[in-house]
């Protein structure tokens, strides 16, 4: 079967909102994602996270969770959630809605209009008290939920170790912040102040709506004009990468807890390379050769050769310019594992990788980029990350750039990669005091 050249999102500037539409008959549902972007900042991170909590607890038309959920059930079990996420140094408030296309549910009409109207209802018509404040009970519930989310990071040890590594590494940058905000800000948030924050956010944030499914462009645009009309704005956001602080020392952090497995996480800086860089395809190749796949150096040497771990991989935070290595090991094997990883990093610097490894890595990267077209979520994610980095390209275009990456390009990238932080979560030692300790080691 011949592969048809595939389309991409068409962007239409509506009032106060950019609309990105991808018409396709590939899926049985229509996915709509509305994003509100703000700089990740200490002062606003917690109130913005709180908005996600309050908005999903009730709107003027659906004042309780139950009424909201029952309405969604009637829309053939539309999946809906409001949450916050971190994309580089941006905090993103996101409304996600996915519902079946009406052609599969006989007798159903205007499902798309109901979807857009529902997003508008939740975002623009929240449940208020005295017209100038959110419902105090919802703010209180949101406070409890956020506290639980922030404290609960520790429950998933893989995720916790990752979070701790990044927050040690970026301790002087906004990137250390969790998208759910800070515990210490929670008590002060109250219904009237939060409503003022909400009004400001609606007035001057960057907003985007993505729609993927069997829809027509003009149909979506006219529905947006009818239901989601917003004041126009001109938004200038600082770059999502933030600063690129120089690395002077390798910082080692060890933390003790009642765990069975040690988690070794390493944070490296890419020397300012991000999704927006010319050398980004070479950085993707670097990460793929090092630890992105089962054929990569980390998996082969930490797991298959040395039998030290079940998982050992690396990944990029491409909007921020970080490379993160993660593995779970027996506590006593800490030095051994660090040595093996260091050795792989040295090999990358020395260009010690074969044409076969390059061929495998290119083939895998191409596969994952083609795969982007097969899920509504990954299509939207790819397009959104491109918008944030101000780098609008289709997966096909990125593939073309990867195809021409050569060994010199990768070694040039390898020169820039620098170890910043080595974090280890381990079991408790009998005699010593528990808790974290930190040592800066000269390079």
């Amino acid at each position: 079967m011949a592969v048809q050249p595939l389309g991409w999102f068409q962007t239409v500037a509506c009032d106060g909102l950019r609309v990105h539409i991808f018409p396709t008959r590939q899926f049985k549902t229509v996915t709509c994602v509305l994003t509100v972007q703000v700089p990740l900042a200490e002062r606003t991170v917690t109130p913005t996270a709180m908005l996600a909590q309050v908005l999903q607890r009730g709107s003027s038309k659906y004042p309780t969770i139950r009424e909201m959920k029952q309405y969604l059930d009637h829309l053939y079990g539309a999946t809906f959630h409001v949450d916050v996420d971190k994309r580089g140094e941006r905090q993103v408030l996101q409304l996600y809605l996915d519902l079946p296309h009406e052609k599969f549910v006989p007798g159903e009409r205007e499902l798309l209009e109901k979807a857009i109207a529902f997003l508008s209802e939740v975002l623009l018509h929240p449940l208020l008290e005295d017209e100038d404040r959110f419902v105090a009970r919802h703010v209180e519930a949101g406070r409890i939920a956020l506290r639980r989310k922030i404290e609960g990071i520790i429950d998933d040890k893989i995720q916790y170790a990752q979070y701790r590594c990044v927050s040690e590494m970026c301790r002087n940058e906004p990137y250390r912040l969790l998208p759910y905000g800070r515990l210490e800000d929670l008590p002060a948030i109250e219904a009237a102040g939060l409503y003022r924050h909400y009004r400001r956010l609606l007035a001057d944030s960057q907003m985007d709506l993505f729609v993927v499914g069997d829809v027509r462009e003009e149909q979506v645009v006219s529905l947006v004009e009818k239901h989601l009309s917003l004041p126009s704005r001109h938004v200038q956001l600082p770059p999502a990468s933030g600063e690129f602080p120089p690395v002077e020392n390798v910082r080692r952090v060890v933390e003790e807890m009642d765990v069975m497995q040690g988690k070794l996480n390493m944070g490296l800086r890419t020397g300012g390379l991000t999704l927006a860089s010319t050398d980004y395809p070479a950085l993707m190749m670097y990460n793929g050769l090092l630890g992105g796949f089962p054929h990569s150096k980390l998996f082969r040497n930490v797991r298959e050769e040395a039998s030290l771990a079940y998982y050992a991989f690396s990944r990029l935070e491409s909007l921020k310019g970080l490379l993160l290595i993660q593995t779970g090991i027996e506590v006593d094997n800490y030095e051994k594992a660090v040595d093996i990883v260091q050795k792989q990093l040295n090999m990358m610097r020395q260009g010690d990788f074969t044409p076969l490894e390059m061929e495998q890595t290119k083939a895998m990267l191409m596969h994952h980029l083609r795969e982007v077209y097969d899920r509504t979520g990954s299509l939207i994610d790819f397009a959104f990350r491109g918008l944030i980095a101000n780098m609008r390209q289709k997966p096909d275009e990125l593939m073309e750039r990867i195809a021409v990456v050569n060994k010199d390009d990768i070694q040039r990238v390898a020169e820039k990669i620098q170890m910043d932080t080595i974090y280890f979560l381990r079991n408790r030692r009998q005699q010593k005091e528990a808790g974290a300790y930190v040592a800066d080691v000269e390079l």
């Binding site: 595939l6 008959r25 899926f27 049985k28 549902t29 969770i65 139950r66 959920k69 029952q70 969604l72 059930d73 009637h74 053939y76 079990g77 539309a78 999946t79 996915d98 519902l99 079946p100 599969f104 549910v105 519930a141 409890i144 639980r148 609960g152 990071i153 520790i154 429950d155 998933d156 040890k157 807890m257 009642d258 765990v259 069975m260 497995q261 796949f293 089962p294 054929h295 797991r303 298959e304 039998s307 771990a309 079940y310 998982y311 090991i329 027996e330 076969l356 061929e359 495998q360 890595t361 083939a363 895998m364 191409m366 596969h367 083609r370 795969e371 077209y373 097969d374 899920r375 509504t376």
Partner: protein, 429 residues
């Protein structure tokens, strides 16, 4: 002979054939997708640890051997098959569940080569003493990872309370001690017993031409020799109708307690009755515990749950149960509310409006799941092994009645077969 199953309303058409050696092959073309996803699955999982072959003695295997075998299948005489897949641009993997082991890949190019690589590596075992020993370190770390995982621990705590003897109560990966007993000979024995083509199913979905895919597979299989299939009897211990214990608690270093409760299904089904009961159970659970239920609202209002609160109905042909739960600051308070609610709701049942709402929701969720090729392949295989069909879910949901769901509610959600598992935070010493 290539046959077809048409599901016009869903715009889906499945092609299938049983090959001479017994391998079942299913192909589902998905025009528009760039990806092809394939699974080769054997009916051999963690619960198949006791069996006998025709005229043979009873064989007992160490816990975790199906999963161990899955890891070792990737080793080939010329090296790891991951390298081959990588070169062909395919992302390969495998998983072991209670009752099956699946080998899989996804690719967007070189479909034929990747499909034949899958068939060849799964049909060509290569184990050495040295590589078996080495794998124990890797799987040991996989087990340690799950030891620290509160969601996994609360789930197995529940199954251990629910089942007295059935091996579904045993961790899929086994224990560090049980895998120490695994050797090359045992792996070959499992392989010979459970990896015969007649015990396996190949599912291919994506941008493919069915006739052509079938041609490749036929040709590949015709070139290989297999022993005649033997009849294998899996020996499961007799499981009492009742539960092992009411409740199980353990502590881990977590911030928020995890609660799971569930109901053991005493009677085991397969085929259409299994599908009917599964749809009924899911509708009943959705009505009582779903996000639009009275209970959900109450628990949410009292800040006892987060949006991770949910339920799952498991229906397989040797065990069936349901689970409900999530994180909660006060597991005991939540349980008290649930018990009171169940007493009332089971008596009253649900009305036509609630029934219609939850049925719509289930239909939508089913359609959504068909967007995902991985889901289709894995679930289609599972439904086939249980003697039914994934695409029959939609008509079954449409046939359901409020009376059937109310019967299900009373039969399934009985207090005598309810068990509880809790993971509590370690108290600071």
């Amino acid at each position: 002979m290539l046959q077809t199953l048409n599901f016009d309303r869903l715009e889906e058409k499945v092609y299938y054939e049983v090959l001479e050696n017994g391998l079942q092959v299913f192909v589902l073309p998905k025009p528009g997708f760039r990806k092809t996803y394939a699974t080769l699955t054997t009916r051999f999982g963690s619960i198949d640890c006791r069996f006998c072959v025709e005229n043979g003695d009873v064989v007992e295997l160490p816990d975790g051997i199906a999963h161990f075998l899955e890891h070792k299948m990737f080793a080939e005489e010329e090296g790891d098959v991951f390298f081959r897949f990588a070169q062909q641009g395919a992302s390969a993997n495998a998983f072991t569940s209670f009752n099956r082991t699946a080998y899989l890949f996804s690719c967007t190019d070189r479909v034929k080569e990747n499909l034949l690589t899958l068939l060849d590596f799964v049909q060509r075992p290569y184990f050495t003493d040295e590589s078996v020993e080495k794998e124990k370190g890797i799987i040991g770390q996989e087990i340690r990872m799950y030891d620290d995982d509160p969601d996994w621990q609360v789930y197995f705590g529940l199954l251990q309370s629910m089942y007295v003897h059935h091996p579904v109560r045993i961790d899929i990966a086994g224990t560090v001690e049980s895998i120490a007993r695994i050797n090359k000979e045992l792996l070959y024995q499992c392989y010979e017993t459970f990896y015969h083509p007649s015990n396996m199913l190949l599912f291919v979905v994506g941008q493919i031409e069915p006739q052509q895919v079938m041609e490749w597979v036929r040709e590949n299989q015709a070139r290989k020799r297999f022993a005649p299939p033997t009849r294998v009897t899996r020996l499961y211990p007799e499981e009492p109708l009742g539960v092992a214990e009411r409740e199980r608690r353990r502590t881990l270093p977590v911030a928020v307690p995890k609660l799971m409760f569930g109901f053991k299904e005493p009677q085991i089904l397969s085929g259409e009755p299994l599908l009917r009961r599964q749809c009924g159970t899911e509708l009943a659970l959705e009505a009582l515990f779903g996000t639009g239920s009275e209970l959900y609202q109450q628990l949410y209002d009292e800040n006892l749950i987060d949006d991770d609160f949910g339920y799952q109905a498991t229906e397989e042909d040797t065990y069936a149960f349901s689970t409900v739960g999530g994180e909660t600051p006060e597991p005991d308070r939540l349980l008290e509310i649930v018990r009171e609610y169940l007493r009332r709701r089971i008596q009253e049942g649900i009305d036509e409006d609630v029934f219609e709402r939850v049925r719509r929701k289930k239909i939508g969720a089913f359609l959504r799941s068909l967007n995902v090729l991985e889901f289709i392949a894995n679930q289609y295989t599972s439904y086939r092994f249980n003697g039914t069909d994934l695409f029959a879910v939609l008509p079954m949901l449409e046939q359901m009645t409020v009376e059937a769901v109310n019967r299900r509610l009373r039969d399934h959600l009985t207090p005598e077969r309810m068990v509880v598992s809790i993971v509590e935070p370690t108290r600071p010493s």
